[in-house]
């Protein structure tokens, strides 16, 4: 098949520009080394193709309805151009204007970034997923429409044709990047293709109201409405935590009681509420550890403050700011000394890093990762631990938001070296890690056949790393633990390992970090980690 070209994005037909076959994808190691035995992709339904803009590739993230007339298409293109203009205005986009301008105006098109992108590599280097493919289109649009470039500009920067099909495909393409910024890390000039995908998502959401339903309607909007994207209101979350306390107490033989709304506590712990619903052993482990170590801590039952997620980080500055302010406001109200973020990578980056400059005065409360705290407890002798309880192969997935985008690299390793005798690293790891494939919202996006795409393409490189880390012990008689200290990443692993049946066939289990700590605590009944699929 002829490789896709930039000009194909404005093709008038609505057919997908590419189609991927399993045999074209990056090969995987054993036991998934035979592409002919891999799952066939679910195809988009005829109804989906009929109703929605699905003209990019084999899948569809946005489910944006097709315009009904040329006039509607023209109106949408007009809105897109208005949004593009706003991306480059101080009043509308002071938040990221400088890095965006630098990226637009200085890329040398050397393609150094391409080999660092896990999506491009996993797709068999399909041109559509090259990190600069999307950026080059936006760059040409910028010079043509924002800078009003003429013939000379086109000669210097390249020509581009704009129509509704181009806009629709670009909207979808903004959601074929995990925003892991591995490409930006390797760019010699410092151009940032991840930022361009981020800014495009903002344009579509903030100007045109286009965003994946899972992230916007069922994500940030639901969180602002009821308090959590899980749908839990304050009463429901308290009920669920009470149930978890009871369950964990019974399971461990250690009385666990989660404190709520304690004024003046040292630590306000904020979990990703998805943990409470899907992996209750994680908040249970936090409660057990913090109580055992004598930490003064609390959860907050304020609206939004019991769910650390902040999906605005991925697509919308206004939604981002609203949620970040609510988190900080809850901490201010409780007069806590610091906020500690639980096992959620994007929540870490959102509140500890990205929100840093907008939280001022009384809202500027110290915000930290749980990892240094846990490291201090584990290495400081606050917990009586028996590492032999964790004597099984363990590997660590580094969530991008924690390592490359926040610089928290060592504490998790110090913990694992201390409590897991068979800990082994993935290659590469730390700040050079690969995304799990679920980053930037993909792990919760499940419309149409999007999960097929994220297992086959965006998650493929990570799957390769996981299998390689366990190549010496793939036999199912050895249970193996993939430690993923991030709720979003765990969601991706749950779905991807299940898709490939790697628990059933090779006993690869995934889970958080605090569960390993509790599993090693002498005061706890052995067997906190249950070798069962969940």
């Amino acid at each position: 098949m002829k490789p896709v070209a930039l000009s194909d994005m404005s093709r008038l037909d609505r057919d997908p520009l590419i189609h991927l076959e399993n045999a074209e994808l990056m090969p995987l190691p054993a036991p998934l080394d035979d592409p002919s035995k891999d799952h066939a992709w679910r195809a988009l339904t005829d109804q989906a193709r009929e109703r929605y803009e699905c003209g990019l590739d084999d899948t569809c993230a946005l489910s944006f309805p097709k315009p009904q007339s040329p006039a509607e298409e023209r109106e949408l293109v007009g809105k897109f151009l208005a949004g593009l203009d706003k991306l480059f205005s101080r009043e509308n986009n002071w938040t990221f204007l400088q890095p965006l301008l630098l990226t637009m105006e200085h890329c040398a098109r050397c393609q150094t970034c391409a080999d660092s992108c896990h999506i491009f590599e996993a797709s068999g280097k399909n041109e559509l997923y090259r990190p600069t493919f999307r950026t080059e289109i936006v760059r040409r649009l910028y010079f043509k429409y924002v800078r009003n470039g003429g013939l000379l500009s086109a000669w210097q920067h390249g020509e581009i044709d704009l129509n509704w099909n181009m806009v629709a495909r670009l909207a979808e393409l903004a959601y074929r990047c995990n925003l892991c910024r591995r490409c930006a890390q390797t760019c010699p000039i410092g151009a940032d293709n991840g930022l361009v995908a981020h800014e495009l998502r903002k344009l579509f959401s903030m100007e045109m109201g286009i965003a994946p339903k899972e992230i916007h309607d069922n994500g940030s909007m639901l969180q602002l409405k009821v308090g959590s994207s899980t749908g839990m209101n304050p009463e429901a979350v308290k009920d669920n935590i009470a149930f978890i306390d009871e369950d964990i107490s019974e399971k461990t033989g250690v009385e666990v009681k989660t404190p709520w709304d304690v004024e003046g506590a040292d630590v306000l712990l904020i979990h990703n509420a998805g943990e409470i619903m899907a992996w209750p052993e994680n908040p249970g482990a936090f409660a057990l550890i913090l109580n055992a170590a004598g930490i003064s801590w609390t959860l907050s039952s304020e609206l939004v403050a019991y769910d650390s997620i902040n999906y605005g980080l991925w697509y919308d500055d206004a939604q981002f700011a609203r949620v970040a302010l609510k988190h900080a406001e809850a901490a201010r109200k409780l007069k806590v000394k610091r906020i500690v973020l639980g096992e959620c990578g994007h929540a870490h980056k959102a509140l500890a890093v990205i929100a840093d400059r907008v939280l001022s005065g009384e809202l500027n409360i110290p915000r930290q990762s749980f990892l240094p705290l846990m490291r201090d407890l584990v290495l400081g002798g606050k917990l009586d631990l028996d590492p032999s309880r964790n004597n099984f192969p363990v590997t660590l997935h580094d969530p991008c938001n924690l390592v490359r985008l926040m610089g928290v690299v060592e504490p998790q390793r110090e913990i694992l070296h201390a409590i897991c005798p068979q800990f082994r690293e993935m290659t590469p790891h730390g700040v050079d890690n690969y995304c799990c494939g679920g980053g930037s919202g993909f792990a919760i996006m499940s419309g149409h056949n999007f999960p097929d795409w994220r297992f086959h393409v965006s998650g493929r490189k990570k799957l390769d790393q996981v299998l390689n880390a366990f190549q010496d012990c793939l036999d199912p008689s050895t249970p193996k633990y993939l430690c993923a200290p991030c709720s979003n990443c765990k969601g991706q692993f749950r779905d991807m390992l299940s898709y490939y049946g790697l628990w059933e066939s090779h006993r690869i289990l995934y889970g958080g970090l605090v569960e390993l700590i509790v599993n090693a605590m002498k005061a706890v009944k052995p067997g906190y980690i249950e070798w069962e699929w969940h």
Binding site: W94, F96, L102, T112, E136, A154, G158, L325, I354, G407
Partner: protein
């Protein structure tokens, strides 16, 4: 000669002015939200440990794009040597005659080696850009012309210098002539053309993406490495207070812009009806 000297001065002035305008433009952009990438070096010595190998030897390209490094490094290092040679030439014009025994061979060596490296580097870059599909499909006509221009310029300079009749005006004499507006000077045409084209190229660079030597300061120091915290009452807080009073015009209903400031928008809750 007056026209030639005018061209030289104009070219250098345009280069300086355009570089300054570009740098000032980026420095005046609003302080963005934190967007650093780790590892972030700490302290001046930490930064220098990254910057020196990156600037001098293109370490990033060596590490992540070796085939490109083989052509890009000679190109860039050649330009550094040409710049160094030009500076030594300037020093030679001002220095006591006794120093010339050292300075003259130094600037000739730098200039010649630099021009040769740049020539082969630019041809190498051009060849790669033409032959590798992944580079070709993202290249504009301007990209090719830029590389040809570099190759042609250094070729002219080398040819001009190497074909210069014995005793005729060389780079040093032309520099002195330009400084004193010596209209009696009669430099060889080929060398004159090389210098004229070179100065035109110099003026053109900061008008294009080739000005990434300016951008790199900002992408590294103000984006990748800027992990400054926001202490209460500090300068960042003051800047943010100003930006939060901006009135955005984003149109999506859930933003609820309608003349509100960023601060007002951030404190509304659209699903509870406050944004509309």
């Amino acid at each position: 000669m007056i026209l030639f000297y005018g061209w030289l001065y104009a070219g250098v002035l345009v280069f300086l002015a355009a570089s300054i305008v570009r740098a000032v433009r980026y420095s005046r952009q609003p302080l963005h939200l934190r967007w650093e990438i780790y590892p972030v070096p700490h302290g001046k010595s930490g930064e220098l440990k990254v910057m020196v190998p990156e600037i001098l030897f293109l370490k990033g390209l060596w590490e992540f794009n070796r085939p490109m490094w083989y052509v890009s490094f000679p190109f860039h290092f050649g330009l550094y040597l040409v710049a160094a040679g030009t500076m030594l030439l300037g020093c030679s014009a001002l220095a006591p005659a006794a120093w010339l025994t050292v300075l003259h061979p130094a600037y000739v060596a730098c200039g010649t080696a630099g021009a040769v490296l740049t020539f082969f580097g630019s041809l190498g870059l051009l060849t790669r850009r033409l032959s590798v599909r992944g580079l070709r499909m993202y290249s504009s006509p301007g990209d090719y012309v830029n590389l040809v221009l570099f190759a042609a310029t250094v070729a002219l300079l080398l040819a001009g210098e190497w074909s210069r009749p014995a005793g005729s005006a060389g780079a040093m004499a032309i520099l002195r002539g330009a400084a004193t507006f010596d209209t009696a000077l009669s430099p060889p045409p080929l060398l004159t053309a090389g210098i004229a084209v070179g100065v035109g190229l110099l003026a053109y660079i900061p008008l294009t993406h080739m000005s990434h030597f300016i951008a790199k300061y900002f992408t590294y120091h103000q984006v990748r490495w800027d992990e400054r915290a926001n202490p209460v009452g500090g300068s960042i807080e003051k800047q943010m207070a100003e930006y939060l009073m901006y009135r955005p015009t984003w149109s999506a209903p859930h933003i609820g812009a309608a003349g509100r400031t960023w601060a007002e928008i951030a404190t509304t809750n659209p699903p509870q009806g406050a944004a509309k």
